[in-house]
């Protein structure tokens, strides 16, 4: 039995370390600031999500798409129906052809998915020095370290590359980006935007809030998932205890 536990722990340790590499491709271990949704009882903080949305909408969405999120989903971050309508209407999409077969543009609606800033990927890359700004809908799940990676990346820019590291023209040094040469210029500066709730827009605050928003974009079900999990676990604990008691009772009769 002891041997088994020892092997199982070794196995778990080996698998855990070989799987989730804490170091990003850039080599440095990621920053781990701790987020409101971490842990067994973690949940999103709606005020944080709303601030993060403001950062995304005013800064990031100029180059990055969020094509899996619909404008109507933004009610979860605290926007009213009218605010959602305004956000959607800020961009245009192609309408259905009219009776003459002409396609015109119409304002975005709440039921639309987030409208991409560029008409297609090639246009997006061409406008950004040949590098396509990736869609951010799943970024928090599509990188090792998830939100820690996003947070670290946003704060990981350096004015000058360390001694001996050469960054090609048109790229920027980032401690956490794999290969260190990232096509995106540093974005988050202090007071870059003004939050509607008056919070001071420090660089760290901006990074934290946009990370929260992007984690929500990738995992909108998190609140429901963790709260359902709690109810399920309590039920199972009770039910399994009952089953164990019943098992003992039934087996007691055996000599």
């Amino acid at each position: 039995m002891r041997k088994l536990i020892l092997s199982a722990l070794t196995a778990a340790g080996l698998f855990a370390s070989s799987g989730a590499a804490l170091a990003a491709g850039g080599g440095e271990p990621l920053m781990k600031p701790g987020f409101s949704w971490d842990g067994f009882f973690g949940r999103y903080d709606q005020a944080e999500l709303k601030r993060g949305f403001e950062v995304f909408n005013q800064v990031c969405s100029n180059c990055h798409g969020l094509r899996l999120v619909a404008y109507r989903n933004l009610s979860a971050v605290g926007l009213t129906a009218d605010q959602i309508k305004d956000v959607a209407a800020a961009r245009e999409v192609a309408d259905a052809p009219n009776d003459e077969g002409m396609v015109s543009m119409r304002a975005g609606r709440a039921s639309d998915k987030y409208i991409n800033p560029f008409p297609n990927d090639k246009a997006a890359a061409a406008a950004n020095g040949g590098a396509l700004p990736p869609d951010l809908s799943l970024m928090a799940k599509a990188r090792v370290g998830g939100p820690n990676y996003i947070y670290s990346l946003m704060l990981g820019f350096k004015e000058e590359a360390p001694h001996g590291v050469v960054i090609p023209e048109g790229k920027y040094y980032n401690t956490y980006f794999p290969g260190n040469a990232i096509g995106m210029p540093p974005q988050l500066m202090e007071d870059l935007i003004t939050y509607s709730d008056g919070t001071k827009a420090s660089q760290e605050q901006l990074a934290r809030d946009v990370t929260a928003f992007l984690n929500w974009a990738a995992e909108p079900e998190l609140n429901e998932r963790k709260s359902m999990g709690l109810k399920v676990m309590i039920f199972l604990a009770v039910f399994t205890a009952l089953l164990y008691a019943l098992k003992r009772q039934i087996w007691k009769n055996l000599h």
Partner: protein, 405 residues
């Protein structure tokens, strides 16, 4: 047959025409089971439970999944975001697959420790390996369906393996692909087969239980049931014990589903498939890693493929490779040590399978691969002849009574 009696006229009318009730009485209620089974014997019923969960969640996922390359990734995201409880059904299916392999691996190691593959259970063991093979095919194809980067590139690497075969290799690959690369035809046929194979698994499980019921369960002592004193009826003793096991298992399984649903997965699979960009590290799902390590350990492409298949084929011969007359490792002190060494080696192979093929990982994989085959082909045949087993108890009941004293 003799155990079933009823006063109910409807039930006896039905049973005379289709003996479901008397079959249940015989096979699931009165069925004689060794009285001394430990909790390692729960894993078979747990695996069957997970099979049901996989079928149920899979069928509901298909209600919203689209298998065209332009739609697949987004249809899965629609399930996650828009379908009521879609995220739950998807995460149950995804983590259920990992659970299925954990349970089946424990089940296989249990069989190896207690000699459950030995006569008269050889065919039972073979059907089990067939189930394992069908599971691997099902899981491999299932992983392709979300059409992420790992889906695409995992499919590309593994289907390319078949080109190793001389003369017919490339034709086999083209046949598998339905084209010149992994693309829409490949995705669609994998979808069709992924839906089919689980029902083949159900059929194999029926045969597996049939074979089991013919020879009856093994037990921790490896001594066959001789009389009534050795056995207890399956119901209520093992029905309740299996249900309790399910309760514990559900807590383990759902812990992952609700709090770490992506623990067993790869972040790269949340990036839509891109045939122009290869991810830096292509890794299969964790349950394939030991076999992946064996594949890469052999420098020759064809021999690597053959070694990988051989790693599973060798299992078919286990009943004869292990020459010991004694079943259970409980009475085989030397074999027991080698069993744990083998187990550790398998874990090590899994670890190496997840690493890039560089540095010390390469010779380590080769040693671990050689050891894997040496265990079956050299150690086991030798041990049976050389080892002096401990004295076996006269019967199960004798051993149980002795323990009580």
């Amino acid at each position: 047959m003799s155990g079933f009696q009823t006063n109910n006229k409807v039930i006896s009318w039905l049973d005379e025409r289709l003996p479901i009730f008397s079959m249940m009485q015989h096979s699931a209620i009165d069925y004689p089971t060794p009285r001394n089974l430990n909790y390692w014997w729960n894993f078979g019923s747990l695996a069957a439970f997970v099979l049901v969960i996989m079928l149920l969640t899979g069928i509901f996922l298909v209600m919203n999944y689209s298998s065209h390359t332009s739609l697949a990734f987004d249809s899965v995201e629609r399930i996650m975001r828009d379908v009521n409880y879609g995220w739950l059904i998807r995460y149950l299916h995804m983590n259920g697959a990992s659970m299925f392999f954990i349970l089946v691996y424990v089940h296989i190691f249990r069989n190896m420790y207690y000699g459950s593959y030995k006569a008269p259970r050889e065919v039972l063991w073979w059907v089990g390996i067939l189930i394992f093979l069908a599971m691997m095919a099902t899981a491999f194809m299932g992983y392709v369906l979300p059409w992420g980067q790992m889906s695409f590139w995992g499919a590309t690497v593994i289907t390319n393996l078949f080109s190793a075969f001389p003369v017919v290799g490339q034709h086999i690959v083209t046949l598998l692909w339905g084209g010149f690369a992994v693309d829409n035809p490949t995705l669609n046929r994998f979808f069709s087969l992924h839906y089919l194979l689980p029902f083949v698994i159900v059929g194999l499980v029926v045969v597996h239980v049939w074979a089991l019921h013919t020879v009856k369960s093994n037990n921790p002592l490896g001594v066959e049931m001789k009389g009534e004193a050795d056995s207890i009826p399956f119901h209520p003793y093992y029905t309740i014990k299996d249900l309790f096991g399910i309760g514990l298992f559900l807590m383990f399984f759902l812990g992952f589903v609700f709090w770490a649903p992506n623990f067993f997965g790869e972040p790269d699979n949340y990036i839509p498939a891109n045939p122009m960009v290869t991810p830096p590290h292509i890794v299969p799902e964790w349950y394939f890693l030991p076999f992946y390590a064996i594949l890469r350990a052999v420098p020759d492409k064809l021999l690597g493929v053959l070694a990988m298949f051989a790693a599973i084929i060798v299992l078919f011969f286990l009943p004869w490779l292990d020459s010991s007359k004694v079943r259970s490792a409980k009475f085989r002190p030397i074999y027991r040590q080698f069993f744990w060494l083998f187990f550790a080696n398998c874990i090590f192979l899994g670890y190496l399978g997840g690493k890039p093929a560089e540095g010390w990982y390469v010779p380590a994989s080769q040693i671990a691969t050689v050891y894997y085959f040496a265990h079956f082909l050299i150690l086991l045949p030798l041990l049976g002849k050389v080892e002096k087993p401990k004295a076996l108890p006269a019967s199960i009941s004798a051993a149980v009574l002795k323990e009580k004293a």
